[in-house]
C-alpha cells in the first residue's frame, strides 16, 4: 500500500532547465503518452520528484509491513494466518520492487539502497502517515487491508498511466495484488461486522481511530494547508492525474456507502454529501498533526523506526558476511 505524502517543509532543489531542446523533446514524448525509461534523458526536477515519490512509496511498503505484522503471529484462525502472511509478504515484495526502481533513478547521484535505509533511520526519508499509527486490535488488521489498502488502490490507480515506465509497470502489478489485499481486509471486517457484540465494538472503535488518518492519507487539498505541495509538478509531468482532494472524494464515494451498510458510523457528525456541489462535506483532519506525524512524531513513529534500526544493526554482521567473496555453490 502506499501514498505520496506531501511534506510541506521539504527543500526542493532549485532547478534551472538549460537544455531547452531536450526538454521540449521530453515533454513532447510524455504528452504523446510515451513512457520514459531509466536510461532516457529526463529533466532534473522530474528525476528528483520520481526519486522522492518512489523511494517514499517503497519505504512505506516496508514500514507498512510493520503495523500489520504485529497481527501476523496472532491471527485468530489458520485461514487468517495464511491470508495475512501472504498479504504482508506481498507488501514486502512491493517494497523491493519499488526500491529497485528508485535505485536506478538514484544511480547518477551514486546513491544506493543502503543510503535510503540510512535516510529513513535518520529521518530524512519519510514514510506514509498511516504507518505511524498503532494497531491495537485484530480489527485494525482488517481496517488496514480494507480502507488503508482501499485508499492506496485509489491513489495508485491514479498513476497507472504514469509517464515513467519502470514505475508504471511496477504499479500495474502492485495494483493487481492490492485488490486481493482489500478483499482480504474486507473479509476480516465482514466477519467482525457479522460477529458478536465484542467483535462489532472493536470494529467500530478501530474505524473511529483510523478515520483521521484515512482522511490525511491523500494529503492536503492544496499547498496552503501545509506550506507546499508536489501535486502540480506531478500532474505537469504526467506522473499522476487527479488532485489529492479528487482522490479523497472518490474514496469517500466508494467506501462511505459500504461503511454505513455495515451499520458502522463515522466519527464526524457533519459528514454528508452535498448534492448541489456534488461533493462530500467533512470535518478536516488536524493538518498540523499530520505534519507532526510525517516528521516521525506520530504515535508509533519511534517504535517502528526502532524496529528497523534494530534489524539493521542486529544484522550488520550478516551484511558484512555477504559482502565477502561469494562461495561456489
Amino acid at each position: 500500500m502506499y501514498n505520496y505524502v506531501e511534506d510541506g517543509d521539504s527543500k526542493t532543489t532549485a532547478y534551472v532547465e538549460h537544455d531547452q531542446e531536450k526538454y521540449d523533446a521530453f515533454m513532447a514524448r510524455i504528452e504523446a503518452g510515451e513512457k520514459i525509461e531509466a536510461d532516457d534523458w529526463m529533466p532534473a526536477d522530474y528525476r528528483q520528484a520520481l526519486i522522492k515519490l518512489i523511494s517514499m512509496h517503497g519505504i512505506s511498503e516496508i514500514m507498512g509491513a510493520l503495523p500489520e505484522k504485529e497481527w501476523v503471529p496472532k491471527a485468530p484462525t489458520l485461514r487468517r494466518k495464511l491470508g495475512i502472511m501472504a498479504k504482508v509478504q506481498d507488501e514486502m515484495g512491493h517494497g523491493q520492487l519499488l526500491l529497485r526502481v528508485a535505485e536506478d533513478l538514484m544511480k547518477p547521484f551514486g546513491k544506493t539502497r543502503e543510503n535510503l535505509m540510512e535516510d529513513l533511520l535518520n529521518g530524512d526519508l519519510k514514510f506514509h502517515n498511516v504507518f505511524h499509527m498503532p494497531t491495537k486490535t485484530w480489527a485494525d488488521a482488517g481496517m488496514v487491508g480494507w480502507l488503508v489498502d482501499g485508499a492506496a488502490i485509489m491513489s495508485q490507480t491514479n498513476m497507472l498511466d504514469a509517464s515513467y515506465g519502470p514505475y508504471q509497470r511496477a504499479l500495474q502489478r502492485i495494483c493487481q495484488e492490492e485488490v486481493f489485499h482489500a478483499q482480504h481486509g474486507e473479509s476480516i471486517i465482514m466477519a467482525l461486522a457479522e460477529g458478536n457484540e465484542y467483535q462489532r465494538s472493536i470494529l467500530q472503535e478501530s474505524l473511529n481511530r483510523w478515520w483521521p488518518a484515512l482522511l490525511m492519507f491523500f494529503g492536503p487539498a492544496s499547498a496552503e494547508t501545509t506550506g507546499s505541495s508536489k501535486q502540480d509538478i506531478m500532474i505537469k509531468y504526467k506522473i499522476r492525474k487527479s488532485t489529492n482532494e479528487e482522490l479523497r472524494q472518490a474514496f469517500l464515494s466508494k467506501y462511505l456507502p459500504r461503511v454505513f451498510s455495515l451499520g458502522l458510523t463515522i466519527p464526524d457528525e457533519t459528514i454528508h454529501y452535498d448534492e448541489k456541489e456534488e461533493k462530500w462535506i467533512y470535518k478536516q483532519p488536524d493538518w498540523a498533526e499530520f505534519k507532526q506525524i510525517i516528521r516521525n512524531k506520530g504515535p508509533k513513529s519511534k517504535e517502528r523506526l526502532r524496529l528497523r534500526e534494530i534489524a539493521y544493526e542486529n544484522n550488520r554482521w550478516v551484511r558484512q558476511a555477504l559482502a565477502q567473496e561469494p562461495v561456489n555453490v
Binding site: I62, A65, L66, K69, E70, W71, V72, P73, K74, A75, P76, T77, L78, R79, R80, K81, L82, M85, A86, V88, Q89, M92, G93, G95, Q96, L99, R113, W138, I188, A191, E194, G195, N196, Y198, Q199, E303, R306, L307, I310, A311, N314, N315, W317, V318, R319, Q320, A321, L322, Q324, P326, V327, V329
Partner: protein, 280 residues
C-alpha cells in the same frame, strides 16, 4: 509406489478404514500431530521474523517459506479434523503445551526480546534451525510419500513439490555464512553446537515409532532418519560437533516442552482466546 497384491491390503484410503484398527489409528494420529505441530511452531517463529530479516529480498523469501510451511501445517491439521479429532483451528490454537508434539528445538525463541519490542533476533539461529529442520523434513516426507494412509501420502507428495526450494534456500545461507567472516563463522558454530544438543527429538517419532513403522505409516525407522540426516548435514557443516545429537530439554514427542512453547502459544492464540466461540 509399489502396488503389489501383498501391499494392497496395507493401503488405507479413508478415515473410516483407519479407525478400524485401534493401534493403526493411534499411530496415525500421533504422527499427524507431530508433523502438524512441527510445521506450526517453526512457521510461527518464522512469522515473528517478518520485517526484520537481514535484507528485503530475504524478508520476501523467508516469509514465503514461512507461509508455505503454515500451509503444510494446515494440511496435516485438516487430516486430523477428517479423522474426527476436532476442528483444525482448535487443534492448532487450543491444545495445552503438554498435548503438543513438536520437537522442543522448534519452539525456541528467535533470540532476545519480543517481536514487537527490542527484537534482538539471531539470524544464525534462524539459518541453522531452518536448515536442520528442512533437512529432516525432506527425509520424513520421502518416507511418508509412500505411507499406507493414502490421504497423508498425497499431502506428503504435494509438500515435497515445494520443499526443495526451502531446503536449497537454507543450504545456501549455511554455505555462505560458514565460509565468510570470522564473526559469521563463530556465530554459526555457536548455534550449530547449541542445536546439536537439542535437536534429537525433532528427528524422532516418539513412543509410537514402532507402530508407525509396522503399519507402514512411515517407510523408515527412527534410526534410519537419524543416519540419513547425519549423512546429509555432514556434507554442509564445516566443523561437525562431537558426540551424538542430544535432546537437552526432553522429547517434545512426549509432550515435554520448555517455557518458550507457552510463550509462543500465548501469542499464537491471543486473539483466538479472546473469544473462542466467535467466528473470526
Amino acid at each position: 509406489m509399489e502396488r503389489g497384491e501383498e501391499k494392497m491390503s496395507n493401503i488405507i484410503e479413508t478415515p473410516e478404514q483407519a479407525k478400524q484398527d485401534a493401534t493403526y489409528y493411534q499411530a496415525l494420529r500421533e504422527l499427524l500431530l507431530q508433523l502438524a505441530d512441527d510445521d506450526l511452531l517453526i512457521s510461527f517463529r518464522g512469522s515473528e521474523w517478518l520485517g526484520l530479516a537481514p535484507h528485503i529480498e530475504e524478508d520476501v523469501a523467508y516469509s514465503s517459506i514461512t507461509q508455505n510451511t503454515m500451509g503444510h501445517a494446515v494440511m496435516y491439521y485438516n487430516l486430523l479434523e477428517e479423522l474426527g479429532e476436532g476442528r483444525a483451528d482448535i487443534l492448532a490454537h487450543d491444545r495445552q503445551p503438554d498435548e503438543r508434539r513438536n520437537g522442543c528445538y522448534l519452539e525456541k525463541r528467535n533470540g532476545e526480546g519480543m517481536y514487537l519490542e527490542e527484537p534482538y533476533y539471531d539470524w544464525a539461529l534462524a539459518v541453522v534451525r531452518n536448515y536442520f529442520y528442512e533437512t529432516c523434513k525432506k527425509i520424513k516426507l520421502e518416507a511418508i510419500a509412500n505411507s499406507s494412509y493414502q490421504p497423508l501420502a498425497h499431502v506428503a507428495r504435494k509438500v515435497l513439490m515445494e520443499h526443495p526450494y526451502h531446503l536449497a534456500h537454507w543450504k545456501l545461507w549455511m554455505k555462505q555464512l560458514q565460509s565468510s567472516t570470522d564473526e559469521a563463522k563463530k556465530r554459526m558454530q555457536t548455534r550449530i553446537d547449541e542445536a546439536w544438543v537439542e535437536f534429537a527429538d525433532v528427528l524422532e517419532l516418539g513412543n509410537l515409532a514402532t507402530d508407525m513403522r509396522k503399519h507402514r505409516l512411515v517407510t523408515i525407522s527412527e534410526e534410519e532418519i537419524k543416519d540419513k540426516w547425519l549423512d546429509e548435514v555432514k556434507t554442509i557443516l564445516v566443523d561437525l560437533p562431537e558426540g551424538p545429537v542430544g535432546k537437552k530439554y526432553g522429547s517434545g514427542r512426549n509432550g515435554e516442552h520448555t517455557d518458550d512453547l507457552k510463550q509462543a502459544l500465548d501469542i499464537l492464540a491471543e486473539v483466538y482466546n479472546s473469544d473462542k466461540a466467535a467466528a473470526w
